[in-house]
Amino acid sequence: MALQSSTALARRPQSFTQNWSAYAFLTPALIILFLSLLLPAAATVVMSLTDISFLRPTNFVWFDNYIKLVSDSRFRQAVGNTAYYTVGVTLPTMALGLLAAVALNGKLRGRIVFRTIFYLPVLTSLIAAAVVWMYVYEPYSGPINGTLTQLGLPPQPWLQSPNLAMTSLIVMAIWRDFGTAMIIYLAGLQDIPKDIYEAARLDGAKTKDIFFRITVPMLSNVTFYLMIILIVQTFQVFGAIYVMTNGGPLGSTETIVFQMYQTAFGYTEFGYAAAMSTVLFLAILLFSIIGTKIMRRGES
């Protein structure tokens, strides 16, 4: 009986007075979190229900901004562009990151140098990288078109053509992000015991079998984690577009965040931009929840 009550006591959550010092230590962080994250987020949701702008008095319009979003063809184009960019960056970045990690996980000579080289773009300033890539894509004096011309092929308007601009941005993003994927995959690979690979070799598995039957499935949690962070990151792409294409040509590189920025700070339609922001937030939240649930199921 005495044992039962002591166990029950141990399991009961401790009261505020018992934990006051823990709460006291948490308070500064909670205040910063509230002011910098929760308050603006809540304010954004409230703003999305208004027509707030510098141009007129503010009125509550309730869900009018959301209704307008559904029928806004420009927004739909931005959603399409964002989805194209997300898929275009996420899948090749993960594939290249995995291949680089597998190649550099072995006893390859100079692997440390290669790992550093592949990771360097991640450490480069986005703006600096964007400026360099603008030169790389330069239609007249850029190295890509220079090489094409030397090979007798026609030069391409990489950032000036609505058909090529988004793909060009995707290529740059892959170059910049696959180092992150490689490092995360490398950490995952080093967690796979050597014995398992040796057992597979003894079981007669060839390199291809080992990769697809052992390595890839055993990295599934890493893959889901990486996919979620890449999706969340690419959903919010802005910097490279702002510097390299400004959303053009013909809105072909206009993504949700870029359009949100233009709507808010170009057209001063803060209420409408806030509605876009809320939709984006909910989409990211949804992906995060789905990803976390899949990862947890994998772990169990």
Partner: protein, 364 residues
């Protein structure tokens, strides 16, 4: 099933020689155990047989075929790892089926073979479970089933019981011995535990610092160890060693002066000794008795410092001539700690080693 032949096998890592010029023949259907302390090269030797590491010199042959240049998966061997090395994302069925899938067998054949192997290791009801749902012993059984299903000519086992608790280890020891009898396959088993080696092996290969110290049946190694290393490694508690000086050689008898004991005359091969040279005598703890035997015996007085009563046996750690002697007595005799105790060792049971540590007077 086939015999295994190792000819002058060596393995070096940089300047470190892990395996030194090992030549060995393991017969068809034999249960051979490689035993030795950590770092003696026993697991390396097993990996060389499996093809997981290439040999630096020498040849590995299975049956009458040279396997030295063949990759791991191309050799007719299966291996059970200490860590089990199960594929954690696959079910028990998929784990056992994996080697067959790699051979591109038909689904019906795979189902049949897996069912047979699972029945052999009593895992039929757990086929759909993932390895993390199984106990240590069950995981080891999956690893064994995965090896069985390949129908290898030689089973290689790298300390397969080390991760199990004592009770389960004992159970699995017996199961593996039974399995060997049932399958009749050649098995090479690596362990650092001399108890496992003694209880399971048809023949034991004792390794030390990359070299084979002695090969023989368990009782041969116990009764006739070739040198000090084997004498100290085989047997538990380990053999007592007493340093001695050779004072005379008379035909087949070696006269010794053992500090703290006195003059001892032991039958032995005198060719290994010189008068005035060093020698070592070895006394197994179980050769020490409290009652005087009828045969000629060495008489000693020890002062028990620690007495460990195990029920079936009593182990006494006693002081004798400034050193510690271990004695093992049957049952639970009355022994008082710190009081001198007269004990006897039949001369016939004393082992004699020359200055180089080689046995010169084999006992029975």
């Amino acid at each position: 099933m086939a015999e295994l032949q190792l000819q002058n096998v060596s393995k070096t890592y940089g300047t470190f020689e892990a395996v030194k010029d090992v030549s060995l023949a393991i017969e068809d259907g034999e249960f051979a155990v490689f035993v030795g302390p950590s770092g003696c090269g026993k697991s390396t030797l097993l990996r060389l047989i499996a093809g997981l590491d290439p040999v630096s010199a020498g040849t590995v042959a299975i049956g009458d075929k040279d396997m030295t240049a063949r990759q791991a998966g191309e050799r007719p061997v299966a291996m059970v790892f200490q860590s089990y090395a199960l594929y954690p994302h696959m079910s028990v069925f998929e784990n056992i089926a994996f080697p067959l899938q790699m051979e591109r067998r038909s689904k019906a054949d795979i189902r049949e073979q897996v069912a047979k192997a699972a029945a052999t290791v009593q895992l039929t009801t757990r086929l759909q479970d993932k390895p993390n749902k199984l106990s240590g012993g069950q995981r080891q059984r999956v690893a064994i089933a995965r090896a069985i299903v390949r129908k290898p000519e030689i089973f290689l086992m790298d300390e397969p019981l080390s991760n199990l608790d004592a009770a389960l280890r004992m159970e699995m020891r017996s199961e593996l011995t039974q399995l060997h009898k049932r399958l009749g396959s050649t098995m090479v088993y690596v362990t650092h535990d001399q108890l496992e080696a003694m209880t399971m092996a048809d023949r034991i290969v004792v390794l030390n610092a990359g070299k084979v110290e002695q090969v023989g049946k368990p009782m041969d190694l116990y009764h006739r160890p070739a040198n000090l290393f084997v004498a100290g490694f085989i047997g538990s508690p380990p053999m007592n060693f007493l340093a001695a000086k050779v004072t005379g050689l008379e035909g087949g008898t070696v006269l010794l002066e053992v500090p703290g004991v006195g003059q001892v005359a032991l039958p032995g091969d005198a060719s290994g000794f010189t008068v005035g040279g060093d020698a070592t005598i070895g006394i197994r703890p179980e050769a020490i008795a409290t009652a005087a035997p009828t045969e000629p015996a060495l008489s000693l007085s020890i002062t028990p410092r620690t007495v460990e009563r195990l029920g079936l046996h009593t182990i006494v750690y006693g002081e004798q001539g400034g050193r510690t002697l271990t004695a093992l007595f049957n049952g639970d005799p009355v022994i008082a700690a710190d009081a001198p105790l007269g004990v006897y060792v039949p001369l016939q049971q004393i082992h004699l080693f020359d200055a180089a540590g080689q046995a010169r007077g084999h006992r029975d």
